[in-house]
Symmetry: C3
Subunit: 339 residues, 3 copies
């Protein structure tokens, strides 16, 4: 599954500048791209990034090719670079992916469920009473959609997604295999030395354009709503507890976990394996580094590292100090001895 | 899915004191409850907690209402507050949840399997040979129960639970979607530079009243038994390795993992993302804080923090020291210079 | 499910030396084995290990029994100890496990899919177009194999495994329940303040003799291939991101996660809950300790601990220092006062 620059050029009606025989096997942003990655550049203001990029080939608009004709980079000149990139990848995706078509005869759709126009439902998928599936949504095989749950238009569920009752997804949501939306939140009250279950009867609301990776768990609220804001993208094996509120356009990387009732603002990034304690607020645009453990509120725009997480410069300084300790304290000890 | 205090009062035949129009959308203990949470108070000895509670409304028994008639709190007076709370939540749950009823015609039940009275089995669920399902147990759609596995009475399996062969669950266990009970333990022997699989032929025993969240993995023992004690509650995405022994009434929070052959006593709490190494003993009532990494035994009743985990006061002191280091060692360095 | 030493002796035609009534309920290596474990010894060069072993019983070859006839250990003398061990465990496994036999009438196999000789496919399992299942492979119930995916000979899929399109497995691979192979990698480009999905159209290649635990997620590459090398063994709830390359004979313990495009050499061990950042290289034979966070390359043969991970002796020294800090800096402070 490799393409040459030449082949990519043909797919997007672009003009290749430089070595068209180069092998491309990935796609990345200009700054992260390596020698086998395709990247793209939006306009001339990014020219400096272009010059420093290691990308194997770069989709560029005509003004960039004019402004920097002989920079040694392999370029594919197209009118709209990102659109061209999407063309390439979607074309490949179309060839390779077999989407469910129509309602499979083994799908079990309750008579009170409502399916929009053009809905596809795969084999052995179950749609319970009063569920509503929006127009053009495609559910692969072996999924489960519980009572009164709703999917907006153009949603995509991969095989073996479980959506419990009273969960709603907006338009164009994608949910990957093995993910469970709307399992009971983890709530017990200590009664006479035993943990007495608090029934979890709230909802889950997933807004538009959310993508959720494989084997995630997003629990329903006790009462009220667990909410994932529009455009937020969740990686694999992520835990979102009951009553959590995640704002729009957040990035939640693999194996992160967010405990009950915590709130993330807009555009928050949680790196891999981050843990957020319960009832925490994380402000807009904040970033928590990998394996960070958030035990107190994070103000908007801040970068937090460490466990417990703290402002990253502070964490960095302490890490440096810690690394120097054997030397520093060794010296002190030697100094002490003569006295 | 919001209720007013007045509506709640009617549901439990309680007398409302204060503003009945308040919106309630959650349930919490007295100390954690916020302005939109319903809480409850057991008896007059908790009066002090009542006065400091931020709860939007509090279910109280008559003696409390008498002892503290005009405390400014919104109260709902009922004979048995926790019973009333359960009534409210179970009532809501009943309205919203669609339980499987009867044996669905697409369920595949092996002729040698034994189903107790009143068992319900959802669509596309499979019960293998010699399995036994206790009276009143309800299995949602698309579950798998392996050969010779047993469920006690009144168990509840949500969609897409996998129970492999030779796994036994006690009475009233609840298992959430995507959880796998009885996968092979992770065991290999290094033979001539390769990892040779040790067949895993032991069992899993889940005692009464255990609840296990979504997408957990509880492995079978190599030989012998992996055991989860009665009343223990396990959150989502938790890993329990082969031959682990968990005592009764433990709380294991999301994404925690317990390695092979470790033993937890009674009432142990592992917070989110805790890791426990293999062959560790954790004593009764011990608590390990979030992201803790337990690499040595934890005595009963102790609170451990950090990775590697240590007594929490010790960990706390070191964290404070570490935070002060830049200042402290900066000072030392300056002091050293003139000498 | 316990066996006495005597019973084990009979199963392998071995001669028991010592107390044959001892109960055995586990299997372990000589150094880790406890009083209820069976272990084994390859040849006389391991005699010293034998003497220090706590194992309840040890399978030994005749030369060992001759060289150390009266060492107080319970021994079972057999010609080939590891072969004997496997006989015992496989015998038990055979009795207990019910493998799928033949093609279940409810299995849905696309007419263009190709099944090798002796393939078994369980109830409600789905094989999509152009998929190929190698001779002798056994798929339990409720699995999904996507378009054009391939399984080599003698593979074993437990119930509810999801293999998406364009995934290939070599010979003798084992995949446990709930695992998802080939979900989309997590890739987005920031376009006008939104995260625009990069279609993920690469492959997953799993080489021969790989075993993957329950509820793991191994994502397909953006373009190119995510690869797991032959003989590598992956525990439960492990995340492998797009374009990751894992070498042969690695051990990846539960809840570890490897971010995009990182590369592990041969025989690498990642302990439980380890996180590896993206684009990292870990050399042959390197080991990362539990909860380690790898943010820079790890040279071959090194042992790394901590988060961020560093050479373990360095980490150890810093941990010791940190533990002594309250005392050391307390002393410094007292010393400072008089001056």
């Amino acid at each position: 599954m490799k393409l040459t620059v030449q082949e990519i050029g043909r797919m997007v009606n672009g003009k290749v500048i430089g070595d068209g025989s180069r092998q491309i096997c990935g796609v990345a942003g200009l700054e992260e791209a390596g020698a086998q990655d395709l990247s793209f550049l939006k306009d001339v203001r990014q020219l400096d990034l272009l010059n420093h990029s290691q990308a194997g080939a770069i989709l560029v608009p005509p003004p960039v090719a004019k402004a920097s004709p002989s920079n040694g980079k392999v370029m594919i000149v197209v009118d709209h670079p990102f659109a061209a990139l999407s063309v390439i990848l979607k074309q490949i995706e179309k060839e390779k992916r077999s989407l469910p078509e129509g309602i499979h005869p083994t799908a079990i759709v309750h008579p009170t469920a409502v399916l929009g126009a053009g809905v596809s439902i795969g084999a052995y998928t179950i749609i319970e009473a009063e569920a509503r599936i929006g127009a053009g949504s495609r559910l692969y095989a072996q999924c489960y959609v519980g009572k009164a749950s709703q999917l907006g238009p153009e949603c995509l569920l991969y095989p073996q997604v479980v959506i419990r009752e009273d969960v709603s997804l907006g338009a164009r949501c994608i949910v990957h295999s093995g993910t469970v939306l709307g399992a009971d939140g983890y709530g017990y009250l200590p009664i006479e030395g035993r943990h007495q279950k608090i029934p979890q009867v709230g909802k889950v609301v997933i807004e538009d354009d959310v993508e959720i990776g494989a084997n995630c768990t997003i629990d329903r609220a006790t009462l009220g709503t667990t909410r994932i804001g529009s455009g937020t993208k969740i990686d694999n094996l992520v835990q979102v507890a009951h009553n959590v509120q995640i704002g729009p356009n957040c990035l939640i990387i693999a194996q992160a976990g967010i405990a009950g009732s915590s709130r993330l603002g807009k555009g928050v990034t949680l790196a891999g394996q981050v843990g957020v304690s319960d009832h925490i607020k994380i402000g807009d645009g904040a970033v928590v580094g990998p394996q960070g453990g958030v035990t107190s509120d994070v103000p908007a725009g801040q970068i937090y590292w460490g466990s417990p997480a703290q402002p990253h410069l502070q964490e960095k300084r302490q890490r440096v100090m810690l690394r120097k300790l054997p030397e520093l304290l060794g010296k002190n000890t030697r100094k002490d001895k003569p006295s």
